[in-house]
């Protein structure tokens, strides 16, 4: 079973004034020059899935210049049922209200909480920028897993929001008051522990399951030459909420001195370390410090392939793949393995600047339905042979 996009409709999104694209096929190609609007299409589908831009852009940036709002409507089938998901952001010209706001609905019914929206449509986004997940700081790695866990596990997103909110309150307390009331701080920390403990537990148990899938794909793409472990390094190691709270208490004097929350899931690290492990700390440098450009690319690709596999496992359904410019970026061996991987999947949307890079793939896949769209001057045309 797999999720399948049927149709995408946009208004005022990025370069598109309006757009309506049927997507009923196993593989859908978008071919166009740089700046034509290919990534924007995948980005919109991503927003309909996790309410965030894969590019890290904010909602305002995605509104077409001069438009009061953007709107995205996605029709898709999941578990044999058709659904329609809609999200809009900006000023609603039909209302008097002047502030930017998000509106969501599912099959025409209004949804108020983001947590009820996220995680219905499952997508995996592949991009050359994925290398940043392995190549930049710990925040990018946490972000990758947090978005994934939010879409896979109901409740995770809400806990994350609660945690971030509590963290904000805690730092406001530090700022406004150099010696805050201990009972006040404890009362706040109980909320921090409640959310932090859930997030910590989820991250640790999920990464344990994620690691073997990741390793499998690294081995596949690198011809078994690369091997990495994923190690979660908590700044607070706790068995339960009470325990988490006690650890916060131990750090309190330090936190008060530095006026910030020095420990907790917002500071944890996710390390990619060489396998087999060396016996000394200095023999275990992180991937970001030692891997070659190609090895990093392999690891990034494997992360996303593992995301695909785990999503299928947890949700019992294959997610939709959104593949942005990736084919052009890969050398011939990696491209071969990646294309092979695409044979097993459900639906994929693939962007590229030139038809040549996909010619080989198309020749191999005469068995499936494909749609090939050309994007030019904000116009999209079907060019199936």
């Amino acid at each position: 079973m797999h999720q399948q996009l049927l149709k995408l409709e946009l208004t005022g999104f990025r370069t598109y004034e309006t757009l309506s694209v049927p997507l009923e096929a196993e593989v859908v190609f978008f071919i166009g020059q740089n700046g034509a609007g290919k990534t924007s299409i995948l980005e919109a589908i991503g927003v309909a899935s996790v309410l965030r831009s894969f590019r890290g852009g904010n909602d305002r940036d995605m509104i077409r210049f001069g438009n009061p709002f953007y709107s995205i409507t996605v029709d898709y089938s999941s578990a044999g049922k058709n659904s329609r998901q809609h999200v809009a952001f900006g000023r609603d010209p039909s209302l008097t209200q002047q502030k930017d706001a998000r509106r969501m609905s599912l099959n025409g019914e209004k949804i108020n909480r983001s947590s009820e929206f996220i995680g219905r449509l499952q997508t995996v986004f592949f991009s050359p920028d994925d290398i940043a997940i392995v190549d930049s700081g710990p925040a990018e790695r946490r972000r990758f897993f947090d978005i994934l866990l939010s879409s896979l596990f109901p409740g995770y997103y809400e806990n994350l929001q609660n945690y971030q909110r509590t963290l904000k309150l805690r730092s406001a307390l530090f700022k406004s008051n150099s010696k805050p009331d201990n009972v006040y701080l404890s009362s706040l920390d109980k909320e921090l522990a409640k959310a932090g403990n859930v997030i910590l537990g989820r991250r640790i148990s999920f990464i344990k399951k994620f690691e073997p899938a990741f390793q499998k794909y690294v081995a596949l793409i690198s011809g078994s030459r690369d091997q990495w472990r994923i190690v979660y390094r908590p700044t607070i190691l706790a068995q339960d909420e009470r325990n988490y709270f006690q650890e916060l208490e131990k750090n309190r004097s330090k936190d008060l001195r530095l006026r910030q929350t020095t420990c907790g899931i917002h500071r944890d690290q996710i390390a990619f370390l060489p396998e087999p492990a060396g016996s000394f700390e200095e023999q275990n440098p992180d991937l970001s410090r030692i891997a070659s450009q190609g090895q990093k690319r392999t690891a990034a690709l494997a992360l996303k392939m593992a995301q695909y596999e785990l999503t299928r496992e947890v949700r019992g359904e294959r997610p939709v793949l959104l593949i942005d410019d990736v084919l052009n970026e890969l050398d011939s061996t990696r491209r071969k393995h990646f294309i092979h991987f695409l044979h097993e999947i459900g639906q994929a949307l693939i962007t590229t600047t030139d038809v040549d890079s996909i010619a080989a793939y198309l020749a191999e896949r005469k068995d499936i339905r494909t749609l090939i769209y050309k994007i030019e001057d904000n116009h999209i045309t079907l060019t199936n042979p």
Binding site: T166, L169, Y184, S187, L188, K190, E191
Partner: protein, 200 residues
């Protein structure tokens, strides 16, 4: 806009939940009414303002010259006391018909972003109230289901730790996090009161 209109629109728009557009509509509505009706309206607002106050005891809204109906002996179930953030929360809970106990209004919640600490709330008088009502068995903490509301609930639990014989409970979060009791409908309030959880 002529200055007289501008001034009244500005005043009305300063009310909570009312934008300039609605304010303009309300202003024109006043204009269409006769003098007497407008004066009635204004008198009721002035009287409301001068003849109403908060009860020293529980914090509920009461008429200045009358006893607080929430504190009148023999009228309420004195085994229960419900702690709320705002006097308006009392109306919402009363409307549910689920509760007939005492109240204690905090006049807010602990909120570091707004600089509201324990001393800014009606927390200090809470132990005294418990002593005053020997029949009291349970304190229901009905602060809003927000991080601030939860933090306030945690604070109350800690500061009241000496009352070993009292049961402390928290209204169930059938209310979405971040929602406000004041605006919740009666059915949801009575559900969350009935499904309240005991705090340890």
């Amino acid at each position: 806009m002529i200055p007289e209109l501008e001034r009244v629109v500005e005043q009305i728009a300063a009310l909570p939940g009312i934008g300039r557009k609605s304010a303009t509509r309300i202003a024109f509505h006043f204009l269409k009414q006769n003098q007497e009706k407008v004066e009635d309206f204004l008198t009721s607002v002035t009287q409301f303002h001068s003849k109403v106050e908060y009860c020293d005891e529980c914090g509920a809204l009461k008429s200045r010259h009358l006893h607080c109906s929430m504190c009148t002996p023999g009228q309420r179930n004195e085994t229960l006391l419900c702690v709320v953030e705002q006097p308006s929360d009392i109306f919402a809970i009363e409307a549910s018909g689920e509760y007939n106990g005492l109240y204690h209004v905090l006049m807010g919640a602990l909120s570091p972003l707004d600089g509201i600490g324990p001393d800014d709330l009606r927390l200090a008088s809470l132990p005294a109230r418990v002593h005053k009502h020997p029949a009291l068995q349970e304190i229901i903490i009905a602060t809003n289901p927000s991080i601030e509301g939860n933090t306030t609930a945690n604070y109350i639990l800690s500061m009241m730790a000496e009352f070993k014989n009292l049961k402390f409970s928290r209204i169930a979060s059938g209310l979405a996090l971040g929602s406000q009791i004041e605006y919740a409908d009666a059915r949801i309030i009575s559900q969350s009161l009935r499904a309240r959880t005991v705090l340890e």
